[in-house]
């Protein structure tokens, strides 16, 4: 026994000490270490990048673009393209409202399913800031998508007028544009909120898509659920946004449902994320 330990003694650390370091070390960085935390804008930039730097994220955005282009093409071909701008607008807003929330869900849940939260929260330990950066980044993507698609809808409508002799009908009020945009962005926020609450991609996606159907099934079976749905079914409370003007009661209903399905899960998710153990 002691023979082997004696051998260990003589060779211990010999390789590290007797040979010069062959491994290259990184150059030290010039300048003082930052005394301030990571600026919020930098967090948002990183989060934006994360949404498009994986195949899943990229293809999701491409798919949304393809569906919108498809919907516009159908309108352009149908009935000589003779539809008002409002119809074109709706054709772009609906698929976006349906698919963009998945961008929000993935922005949050992929950190947990891919376990990158471990890295993210060690590079920025103020976790709530990371969560808010995700919200801002997702909304930025949403706003760009909405503006682009509305512009695309306008271009296709103009093309229908110019190329196919459709009757021009630009009669869309600003409030309708805002309402349609708000509809899409609220859906996106809901996706983010569900992602934060559940932190699991399939669960968040399923809940997001099943919830509206659940309301209509429940409502058809049980009248109390139907009347509760007027206040809690986001799909119904957000519908008037498309018309561009809401009554006081509709605002209240929208506010209630957004509070329950967007703000509440968002806040609970935020609290959880700041306290939880990151595995």
């Amino acid at each position: 026994m002691s023979t082997t330990t004696a051998t260990t003694t003589t060779t211990r650390r010999a390789p590290a000490d007797s040979t010069p370091h062959v491994a290259r070390l990184p150059e030290p960085l010039a300048g003082p270490r930052p005394a301030r935390g990571i600026p919020f804008g930098r967090l948002v930039r990183a989060e934006l990048r994360k949404m498009i730097d994986t195949r899943a994220g990229r293809w999701l955005l491409v798919a949304i673009g393809v569906v919108i282009a498809g919907a516009l093409t159908v309108l352009f071909v149908q009935q000589g393209g003779d539809h008002p701008y409002g119809a074109y607008l709706q054709a772009t807003a609906m698929p976006m409202a349906l698919l963009l929330p998945v961008v929000g869900i993935l922005a949050v849940t992929s950190e947990w399913s891919q376990r990158t939260a471990l890295v993210t929260f060690t590079l920025e330990a103020r976790r709530a800031r990371v969560a808010w950066a995700k919200v801002v980044a997702a909304l930025a993507v949403g706003v760009v998508a909405v503006v682009l698609s509305f512009a695309l809808a306008a271009a296709v409508h103009a093309a229908a007028i110019g190329l196919r002799g459709a009757t021009g009908d630009w009669g869309v009020e600003g409030t309708v544009l805002l309402g349609a945009g708000g509809y899409v962005l609220l859906g996106l926020l809901q996706g983010l909120a569900f992602g934060m609450l559940l932190r699991n991609t399939p669960a968040a996606v399923v809940l997001y898509y099943v919830l509206p159907t659940g309301w209509s099934i429940l409502g058809s079976l049980w009248s109390a659920a139907a009347s509760a749905g007027e206040w809690l079914d986001l799909n119904r409370t957000m519908q008037p946004l498309f018309g561009g003007s809401l009554t006081g009661e509709q605002w209240a209903q929208l506010g209630t449902s957004v509070g329950v399905w967007v703000l509440l899960p968002l806040l609970v998710g935020m609290v959880w994320v700041t306290r939880a153990e990151v595995k």
Binding site: S2, R12, A16, A23, R24, L25, T54, Q114, R275
Partner: protein, 299 residues
């Protein structure tokens, strides 16, 4: 500098860390050892602010991790090489790190070069990386912000012998430059070669801490004489525990001076008198963690 002070972490009835205190000093590599489930990873996660402590504190460079401004510029972490998005390329992982840490993008190329990932490999998705490549990527990520402190959990896992040698050189060089390195490993030979200080943990408690030389230095004195039996008799009479040495002679649980004096008094001529054999790390590890180790099937 990492200071862990009376750290306790409980999960319900299970105590993962029980009043753990140790520190990792600048300019030195501190090896963190312990059997599976002893609490090494939990302790490192508490240091990194990922796991909240039940009581006690862990500070890095004098502050709690969460209070470090732009942590990536102060601390480099490699806690789990597999915790990367499988669909991102290695280069993209580093680019995101560079954006958050606020270092120049050219640093990404430098890090890839330092850890030996080629341009082509850096453009592959992490999904297609071997564990060794992930470890290299993880180390590149940890070094991005030129941190003062490195915390690495099992960084040698999955590395080939050349990679292990390279990792050792990097860590030694890093400490020689004044950095603080805390690393855990199951490869005891590796730790023995690279670590200046050791912290041994078992069942969530620190069972030994000190410099590697201190911990591995043998206890007692080896003595050989013309009449070992008489010497043993005299030593026992002087109240010194004595056992036969495996290589012949005696091992006395005291210092060389005492053995010499006793031999002189007894009139036994000595042939050899020296400090006891240094223990191997493996021996020390198994001895210290015997109570904490999982039940092994008796061989």
């Amino acid at each position: 500098m990492i200071t862990v002070d009376h750290l306790t972490k409980r999960y319900g009835a299970f105590t993962a860390l029980d009043d753990v205190s140790f520190s990792a000093r600048p300019g030195r590599v501190t090896g963190f050892l312990g059997p599976n489930g002893a609490g090494k990873t939990t302790a490192m996660r508490v240091v990194a602010g990922l796991t909240p402590a039940s009581s006690g504190t862990a500070t890095v460079l004098g502050r709690p991790y969460a209070a470090l401004p732009t942590p990536g510029r102060h601390v480099g972490l490699l806690l789990d090489a597999s915790a990367q998005h499988a669909g991102r390329t290695g280069r993209e992982v580093l680019t995101l790190g560079a954006i958050l840490t606020g270092v120049d993008r050219r640093r990404v190329d430098e890090m890839l070069d330092v850890v030996g990932l080629t341009e082509k490999e850096s453009l592959r998705r992490v999904r297609n990386y071997s564990l060794g490549m992930r470890q290299r990527l993880g180390l590149a990520h940890a070094l991005l912000g030129d941190p003062e402190v490195l915390v690495l959990d099992e960084p040698a896992n999955g590395l080939d012998p050349a990679g292990i040698r390279w990792m050792r050189d990097v860590l030694r060089g890093y400490a020689a430059r004044g950095g603080t390195v805390l690393l855990s490993s199951h490869l005891l030979n590796e730790i023995e070669r690279v670590a200046d200080d050791l912290v041994v943990i078992g069942n969530g408690r620190v069972v030994a801490a000190g410099t590697t030389d201190e911990l591995l230095s043998g206890t007692g004195t080896v003595a050989r004489s013309v009449d070992d039996a008489a010497l043993a008799e005299a030593l026992r009479a002087a109240g010194v525990a004595v056992s036969p040495s495996a290589t012949g002679g005696l091992v006395a649980e005291t210092d060389a001076d005492t053995v010499g004096r006793v031999a002189l008094g007894a009139g036994v001529a000595l042939r050899e008198l020296r400090a006891g054999d240094e223990r191997g790390l493996e021996e020390m590890f198994l001895e210290l963690t015997a109570g904490a180790a999982r039940e092994e099937v008796a061989a």
